[in-house]
């Protein structure tokens, strides 16, 4: 595929607001995970909560969108000059030529969870202040971002569980290649809610300590939340950061367990490399899906070994941010771009002793090295897999 330039990006997670705060935490190997104090949740787990989301105010004209998830989106859009960069692109191309592709797994379901506590005692009706369309519905966050940025191009919410925002990149790249749009806002926004916390708990997949991806003692995930956005724009100069390749596959195996040999994961990575026309040996860093569950990491490790038999520097940054679910693809794309821009492989807080049965060259400590080509893996429930390859325009 033709490389797609990335002309601006921003990430807000438990590490802080915007790229500089994120980089500061990465440089000090400081995790954003803390014991869960979210809402009324009574689970013994750690979460990566974004500080100050509840205090964010949406513009009055968009008040109907008000919920935690859209507040996180608003907070994210305000960082790193992202909104200004989008405005400039909209002026250049016209708002109808800028698309919006947002990955989310639960959107504003928290608003519905809270509304269900306030049902009318007699009729069972939900409270009149609950706005299903603009908060709970899967499309709400994509509609919010489109309205907030004044864009008028094609817009979709991509919702494939934990690969959602990785696949949003692939979709945007196709729309651009087809000539429907000249630029795209791609993002991932997912926020803490009871569905995912109690849901992963029901599957016995929540760790009681900060998650430890690829560690011999790993025992589950830590859930995080985040908002990360990217501006893809066909007009960019030489040397611009760029999306080089995308690989998307399905396991066709199980709803909540990965294919044990990592078949779909392997094919996704191989497809991303093939589409980019780049040999595996040229990849400098892989940001793994690396959730910290025993089976996920073992399956991904097999896939990694098959694709990179010579080894490659890799790790998971979920020990920093937690697993931000539908936002993970976007957050970890940002981690790749930061690694490229700073010439630094991030550390992997939480991982103390790498599982000796895993063969990946897993880096627990951060170090400086040029990163010219980086890959990010995102896999999810339903057997959905997406790998993204990033580099620079020649």
């Amino acid at each position: 595929m033709t490389p797609v330039p990335i002309t601006a990006f921003t990430v807000t997670s438990a590490l802080g607001r915007g790229v500089p705060a994120t980089l500061d935490a990465i440089s000090q190997a400081r995790t954003g995970l803390a014991p869960c104090r979210f809402e009324t949740v009574d689970l013994d787990t750690f979460v990566g909560e974004v500080d100050g989301v509840d205090a964010v105010a949406l513009p009055a004209a968009l008040a109907r969108f008000d919920c935690r998830n859209n507040r996180a989106a608003e907070l994210g859009l305000a960082q790193d000059g992202f909104e200004e960069a989008v405005n400039a692109a909209a002026r250049r191309h016209g708002p109808a030529r800028v698309g919006v592709f947002i990955g989310t797994s639960t959107a504003g379901i928290l608003a519905a969870e809270l509304a269900y506590r306030r049902r009318d005692a007699a009729s069972g009706a939900l409270p009149p202040d609950f706005d299903y369309r603009h908060t709970h519905n899967t499309f709400s966050v994509a509609a919010y971002v489109r309205a907030r940025l004044g864009l008028a191009g094609p817009c979709t919410a991509v919702s494939t569980a934990c690969s959602s925002s990785a696949k949003a990149f692939a979709s945007a790249a196709r729309y651009m290649a087809a000539g429907l749009i000249d630029a795209a806002v791609v993002g991932g926004v997912d926020t803490l809610c009871l569905t995912t916390l109690y849901g992963f708990n029901s599957l016995d997949l929540l760790s009681r300590e900060p998650c430890r991806p690829y560690d011999a003692q790993r025992d589950g995930i830590s859930i995080g939340e985040a908002a990360a956005f990217f501006l893809l724009d066909r007009t960019a100069g030489a040397g611009s950061l760029a999306l080089l390749g995308t690989g998307e596959t399905s396991d066709a195996y199980h709803m909540s367990a990965p294919h044990p040999e990592g078949r779909g994961a392997r094919e996704a990575m191989q497809s991303a490399l093939a589409k980019a026309g780049i040999d595996a040996a040229r990849v400098d860093y892989v940001n793994l899906h690396g959730t910290g569950t025993p089976s996920n990491d073992a399956a991904e490790d097999k896939a990694m070994h098959a694709v990179f038999p010579g080894g490659v520097a890799c790790n998971s940054t979920k020990g920093f941010t937690g697993h931000t679910l539908g936002a993970a693809g976007a957050v970890e794309a940002a981690m790749c771009l930061i690694a490229m821009r700073e010439g630094r492989v991030p550390a992997s807080p939480g991982t103390r002793s790498v599982d000796a049965s895993l063969r990946a060259h897993y880096e627990t400590r951060g170090f400086r090295r040029p990163v010219d080509v980086a890959m990010s893996n995102s896999f999810g429930f339903g057997g959905t897999n997406c790998s993204l390859l990033f580099g620079r325009l020649p």
Partner: protein, 261 residues
């Protein structure tokens, strides 16, 4: 900017609409529409364990998708797939919200993994062995139209691979039904490809009003169910010859589709 694709096969499940072949004359306006509750087929293609766990959205997607693949005489596992739905597995969502509002907050693992928007894609893969890319998207009332757009964009990107579009919506039980009154289950599936035998579609974005259905009760379905927003296209295909359909997209825009049988 025009996108193109050949319709190789169609599947349809809806109120009074039991399959594409049985519905063609109704949609073409030459046979009377007889309203009836949607008969949601059992998910026969799934292994027994998964069949028990499958919700309405999964059953709808499987039934319509397999009908379209049979009509296209294609191996469903070889197609890329685009799943489009406004609300996914609605009854499951209600059950989770209800459980989370209760004292113990216990939800079952099956309910949780069925809650993801891509659950029908996961079950589809298990049923058919499809290992190709599967997109799962939402765009509220424009979900199905966005799905068609996504499928045509996929064909432009990779002309050698057929794409299966599966658009479906299910009704919420109360209390969410009062806020999102989808009246019944509805699913449309289409195998689309760059070449082969079938009507040729040419689609482009435009401003304007979407086409309505001539039969008032079918038009009520079109306005009430996102997946039924594709009915004007199905009517155009049922009539045959050279036809057009304007399908509702976002904020006063439509996907304008010219069909040539």
């Amino acid at each position: 900017m025009t996108l193109a694709g050949i319709v190789r096969g169609i599947g349809l499940v809806g109120p009074g609409l039991r399959g594409w072949d049985a519905s063609r004359d109704v949609l073409a306006g030459v046979a009377a529409f007889v309203p009836a509750a949607t008969a949601v087929p059992a998910a026969e293609a799934l292994p027994a364990t998964e069949r028990r766990r499958a919700g309405v959205a999964v059953k709808l997607a499987l039934a319509a998708g397999l009908e379209a693949a049979r009509a296209a005489r294609c191996e469903p596992g070889e197609c890329a797939a685009v799943f489009a739905s406004s609300g996914g597995e609605t009854e499951n969502c209600h059950a989770i919200c209800e459980a989370l509002a209760s004292e113990d907050r216990l939800i079952s693992p099956t309910r949780f993994h069925n809650s993801v928007h891509n659950a029908p894609a996961g079950y589809w893969g298990i049923a058919t062995g499809a290992t190709q890319a599967a997109d799962c998207i939402a765009a509220f009332d424009a979900s199905a139209t966005a799905g068609l757009l996504e499928a045509l964009v996929r064909i432009a990107d990779e002309p050698a691979r057929a794409v299966l579009l599966l658009a479906y919506d299910c009704p919420y039980p109360d209390p969410l039904h009062a806020l999102r009154p989808i009246p019944d289950a509805f699913a449309v599936a289409m195998v689309l490809a760059a070449d082969g035998v079938g009507p040729r579609l040419q689609a482009s974005m435009a401003t304007g009003a979407p086409d309505a259905m001539a039969e008032a009760r079918l038009d009520h379905l079109r306005r009430a169910i996102p997946a039924a927003r594709l009915l004007p296209l199905l009517a155009a295909l049922a009539r045959g010859g050279a036809q057009t359909a304007a399908l509702e997209y976002l904020d006063g825009t439509v996907l304008h589709v010219a069909a040539q049988a």
